[in-house]
Symmetry: C2
Subunit: 448 residues, 2 copies
């Protein structure tokens, strides 16, 4: 099988730049308008992208006074998008900290049936304090506990997804036998965090299992990805960071008898596109101009590093003292780590960092050719399998990408001209996993 | 406002009769096929019915060897249906025992936004032992505990739905102010079961709040309905039972300063329709013939009463000893109660009971005229506000109802010719509730 370039698009409401909502002519409620999201999903499908992706934080997070945040529950919104599209994959973020495995396993598998095999689940060990307080936790669980819970959760979900053997549904009208209970398996799981009998009441997925995605960049996040992930979404701000991340992921995968080649590495990328370099820079400036300075890139980057923007010289190279943490407690440590790394490596100032990242992810400002060069450069070097796009503003940021960047990628022979399969696994080039109940299958959760 | 007849349709997979899956020409996987459900929803919309309804049990419940059970997660399936319909309401069942209030509040409100104000939530205090074992509970919580939890849960959900005042979203691009945090309220809830800070990250519903439905018939279920429900779905097997239930509901509503006229009473009804009485009886016989005798009505009714079908004379009037319980532990007590009541009142045998109910709900076997007479009779007598239809087999059972019964109801002037509004509240004739943060509003959960 030839190696392929994969592209997801993370639909970040009004767009990934915090100023997107304030661009002229935007509907302020776009971020809670399902049809705004649908328009984006249909554009992505027109471009034959692999899938749409929805991040999530189950809380009113960030400064709602300055711009929109997470709102519509992503599994519902994704189902809405799946119902009105035909081929594109749909991946939603579901927390292993704030869900019950039985409910979550069932929701993902239900989307998979509803979408005829196009669903993926991005498993995250959410830690935001604001979220914890919505779930009876006065404080955030420590990382070890959250990741032990995530590990048990994902393994159990995989096992629940496998509850029904293929062919368990007999529908023998002569013998009045509907299903063969002997081929529907209880999980009988008893672990540190969960006691779940099962079986799941939903037959196995049209694509074997929904695709498992992982998004944590901290060491336990990478370990989790090495064990379970089939695709990874993470901020990687330069090639050195990508090389390093891929090596860490490969090491963790080997611990579980897996190959990193079976995991699609799809870091975030925010293209800011103009038909000339000057136009692209003007678009970036317009995005920055529309928001309060608290929401501008300089302030955001300072906060990511745990620095006070008011007292940090934006033009001076950041010092080791400034880059040594501790990480702020309201952002994933992966964001802190990646920003500090490239600032250190390249001797960047706050302003230098701000020009290189939007919303915590790598940004490229330029013409369609420049964006295409960047994508093909990283991909050809074997650093990544593709990208999770976070367009600067929506829907136009993705329109431009699909109309002007995708054709260049196709001309260069690195991206498909249309879908060749029907499932998200087909798009990503991932195999159908054997069931836990076949000898070759991953056992998922520990059986009692 | 004139009184109106309301009709929901509970989409019970292949149909409410356990033999529906085995009728000739059926796809056995219809119960997990979203497009089967969509076909039913579109038929209901063609008939201008108020809404589709999905029940739920989060477990592989019942005898899967004999027929299909609950499968696709109802909030996902409902979203799928909402995306592909325009006007019909969508109501799903969500357990207050096996969910987190923040997640559930957000899911329902997200469907409400996605459907532009057509969502309702059927709050149930699920107790099935099989479900409890999927959520870390070795045994079922006692009814008091489950209903105290349900009461706290629903009040808290209402308060979370009200987090955003109307107009909190400012979108002032000049001042770079997106929303007014002072008009977005934390729930700050601390109760016996839940500690939830809030606010919800989803703005208020297009219909004020999603419609709250309640389905329990036990005394604490009726109390819960009296306090919170705007519509009630329950088995009522004869007029006497309906009169009694309505009186109990009115009494409970008054305890909370509410009027029963503000609650739509919509008991279950399974029509088995033929163009002649003989044809209708033949359809019923075909349904019974297709299933193993364990799944036939006689066995089901016996189980509902906690009796052994093998040792109970099907033709002998049931005795007080047989009707005195205890209720079997795998069915809601409301089902036991309603069956025992009419058997006692009418001196019915098992066979007599079996002919009167399907799947625990009242059944009428006959011509479209007879079905229409039954519906208008109950409605005109003021016993009920309408019905939750559970067609015997799908999709044809609803096709026949919409094509042949609805026109009669329209001729008689008791049912609408088309939708007159856009939201589920419009269809049901329910007012938009004031927010908890307005002086007249229900306070929902107790503030700290």
């Amino acid at each position: 099988m030839t190696r392929r370039l994969s592209l997801l698009v993370n639909i970040t409401g009004a767009g990934n730049h915090p100023g997107a909502w304030a661009l002229p002519g935007r509907a302020p409620d776009a971020y809670v308008d399902p049809d705004h999201h649908l328009r984006v999903a249909r554009t992505a499908e027109r471009g034959a992208l692999d899938g749409v992706f929805l991040a999530d934080i189950p809380a009113l997070h960030g400064d709602i006074g300055r711009g929109p945040g997470q709102a519509l529950e992503p599994s519902m919104l994704l189902t809405y998008l799946a119902a009105a599209t035909e081929r594109i994959g749909v991946v939603f973020t579901g927390s292993t900290t704030f869900n019950e495995p039985y409910n979550l396993a069932r929701r993902v598998l239900s989307i998979d049936h509803a979408s005829r095999g196009r669903a993926g689940w991005n498993a995250v060990a959410t830690f935001f304090p604001g979220a914890a307080r919505n779930f009876g936790l006065g404080t955030v669980l420590d990382p070890d506990t959250r990741y032990r819970r995530a590990e048990e959760f994902i393994g159990l979900v995989h096992r629940l997804w496998d509850s029904w053997e293929d062919g368990a549904l007999i529908a023998d009208t002569d013998g009045a036998r509907f299903a063969d209970p002997g081929r529907i398996h209880a999980a009988d799981h008893t672990g540190e965090f969960f006691d779940v009998a099962g079986p799941l009441n939903v037959p196995r997925s049209p694509q074997g299992r929904p695709v498992t995605v992982q998004a944590g960049a901290s060491p336990p996040g990478v370990a989790l990805a090495g064990r379970f992930a089939e695709a990874v979404y993470t901020p990687l701000l330069d090639r050195e960071a990508a090389r390093d991340y891929r090596a860490r992921l490969a090491g963790q995968a080997r611990r579980y008898g897996r190959e990193v080649s079976g995991i699609r590495l799809l870091p975030g990328l925010t293209p800011v596109i103009g038909s000339t370099e000057a136009e692209a820079r003007a678009r970036f400036a317009a995005l920055e101009a529309g928001v309060h300075q608290d929401a501008q890139q300089l302030a955001r980057v300072a906060r990511t590093l745990g620095l006070d923007p008011a007292t940090t010289d934006p033009e001076a190279p950041l010092t080791e003292a400034q880059l040594s943490g501790p990480p702020p407690d309201r952002l994933p440590t992966g964001f802190f780590r990646t920003h500090a790394e490239i600032a250190r490596r390249e001797g960047l100032s706050l302003a230098g960092l701000a020009a290189r990242t939007i919303g915590g992810h790598r940004s490229v400002v330029g013409t369609p050719e420049r964006i295409a060069d960047d994508i093909t450069g990283w991909w050809s070097a074997g650093l990544v399998d593709g990208f999770t796009l976070l367009p600067d503003a929506l829907p136009d940021g993705l329109d431009t990408f699909v109309d002007h960047v995708v054709p260049i990628l196709r001309e260069r022979g690195v991206f498909r001209h249309g879908y060749t399969g029907t499932t998200l696994r087909d798009h990503l080039g991932l195999p159908v996993p054997p069931s836990s109940y076949e000898p070759s299958g991953e056992k998922g959760a520990t059986a009692r």
